[in-house]
């Protein structure tokens, strides 16, 4: 055990490990907050679709040789999020079909572009890194960390400010609209926040796993807790704990960061699921 702590403090001396932990905590905190809303509005799949879009955008950004990929990825993902979330009801192509189309489309185009305009010798390695975030979190630059901190604070602040509005819209959008809440505006806001969260989460766990950070903590917390507030707090706490545990295990055991975090989330879901069963069974 002392050996392990020594090894850990040795690693913590490296700035990139500290960066990884800061980004990990912030991203997992943000991503868990809107999880409840997305899960309950039956939008779980949107997170997944958006992460594929972000992958496509990333491919385009690297082909165009952008200095900072974020400036392309973020607006593109946000635009698609707005399209998917805000036009969901009255379109000819139904919501889930639209998401499926956009998501696989972006994935295919992204991979195609990366292959045609390849700049590196190891394409499959690059693609794998983007999709599963195998090492990207440990190669973060200081400016990327700052951007992540700014975006996370923005998400947290917006969520805190509009917490009750988001609750009202999630629980009953019709009622909210009928009683004077500008639901279109807040749906738009939710869409943009989701896009930011997905792009942030992509840094941490990679494009394919980003939606796991959104969905798992919320689903786990919903098994056990009974009010919206307690579910939100529990999901946020759980998400941060799982990410920390995941990052530390990944560093110590040399496993890929993204999938280790998601594995931790899955284990937590199992525990909460059992706890929920026991609790309900006891009644």
């Amino acid at each position: 055990m002392p050996e392990l702590i020594e090894k850990l403090s040795f690693y913590l001396d490296f700035p990139f490990v500290r960066y990884a932990i800061i980004v990990g905590v912030l991203v997992s905190l943000c991503s868990s907050l809107l999880g409840v809303t997305l899960v309950l509005k039956r939008y779980s799949y949107i997170g997944d679709g958006l992460s594929h879009v972000a992958f496509g955008a990333l491919a385009i950004a690297s082909v165009l040789k952008f200095s900072n990929n974020m400036f392309l990825i973020l607006p593109v993902t946000a635009a698609v999020a707005v399209l998917l979330l805000c036009t969901g009801k009255n379109t000819r192509i139904k919501g889930d079909a639209a998401i499926a189309m956009v998501s696989v489309g972006a994935l295919a185009i992204g991979y195609l572009l990366m292959n045609i305009f390849s700049t590196s010798a190891n394409i499959s390695g690059d693609v794998c890194t983007t999709l599963f975030g195998s090492t990207s979190i440990l190669t973060l630059k200081a400016e990327e960390v700052y951007l992540c901190i700014v975006l996370s604070c923005l998400v947290l602040l917006t969520f805190a400010l509009f917490y009750h509005k988001i609750f009202a819209i999630t629980f009953d959008e019709n009622f909210a609209r009928a009683t004077g809440v500008n639901t279109n505006l807040f749906n738009l806001l939710i869409a943009v926040i989701v896009a930011i969260i997905i792009v942030l989460a992509m840094n941490l766990v990679g494009a394919l796993l980003a939606s796991a950070l959104v969905v798992f903590p919320a689903l786990s917390a919903m098994r056990v807790f009974k009010s919206f507030f307690s579910v939100t707090v529990a999901a946020a706490t759980l998400s941060v704990v799982c990410s920390l545990v995941g990052i530390l295990i990944a560093i110590l055991a040399g496993t890929p960061v993204g999938s280790t975090i998601v594995a931790a989330d899955i284990v937590a879901f199992g525990l909460f699921y059992s706890a929920g069963l026991i609790r309900n069974g006891g009644n």
Partner: protein, 218 residues
């Protein structure tokens, strides 16, 4: 109370989805102090009309005018329960308080006045004891009463009810009608869509029948 003051005026109102019109060229007025029941077969357009009044559906032609300075934030609405709510982790208190979101623009917190009003509404609908309970664990009748409490919190002048007693047992139904009647006597204008032509119309002052689009006064 014999003179009638319109609260909502519908002029040449046409409502519908896609190419289908469910309400056509309707001229109608909801007056201050009405207890209006809307009846008709399934698909006759009664819920569509209520959604129009609630501002959830824009008119295809004609218009709906809110009179007497009535604002959306003064209208309470009891919609039919949706799928999302069946599995929703929220306490009764959180749901009832969410009624105030239309009233203030940016304040993120609820004040004393709102909490007191929420307690009053829960008392009126006999849901006080459920305050800390989880919504998804309540019975159908309890859920409906909680949603009515929320509608009351939002309703300052007008209450729109979409089939408030569907799926309730006789006892809950009676409680529901009793609560609505009390509210009406305290001066609230009520518009209710209902299937229950046996007991639902007992307290109504006016009936709008979508099967005949005939308007009867009482």
């Amino acid at each position: 109370m014999n003179e009638t003051t319109p609260l909502i005026k519908c002029r040449q109102l046409t409502l519908g989805y896609g190419s289908k019109d469910l309400v056509r060229d309707l001229d109608y007025e909801v007056n201050v102090g009405d207890y209006l029941c809307i009846i008709g077969q399934n698909g006759s357009g009664k819920t569509t009309f209520l959604r129009g009044l609630a501002g959830l559906l824009s008119p295809k032609s004609g218009n709906i005018e809110l009179c007497e300075g009535l604002k959306r934030s003064e209208i309470g609405f009891l919609p039919q329960m949706n799928v999302v709510q069946k599995d929703f982790p929220a306490s009764v208190e959180e749901i009832v308080l969410s009624a105030f979101q239309g009233k203030f623009r940016l304040l993120p917190l609820y004040g004393r006045a709102q909490r007191d009003r929420a307690m009053e509404c829960m008392a009126l609908t006999r849901t006080e004891s459920l305050r800390k309970s989880c919504f998804r664990e309540l019975s159908g009748g309890q859920k409906q009463r909680v949603l009515l409490a929320r509608a009351l919190c939002a309703a300052d002048r007008l209450l729109l009810l979409d089939e408030p007693v569907t799926g309730l047992d006789p006892e809950s139904t009676e409680t529901m009608y009793h609560v609505i009647k009390d509210l009406h006597q305290q001066g609230m204008t009520i518009v209710m869509v209902t299937h229950d032509v046996e007991d639902g119309l007992d307290d109504a002052t006016r009936v709008l029948n979508f099967d005949q689009i005939s308007v009867k006064g009482k």
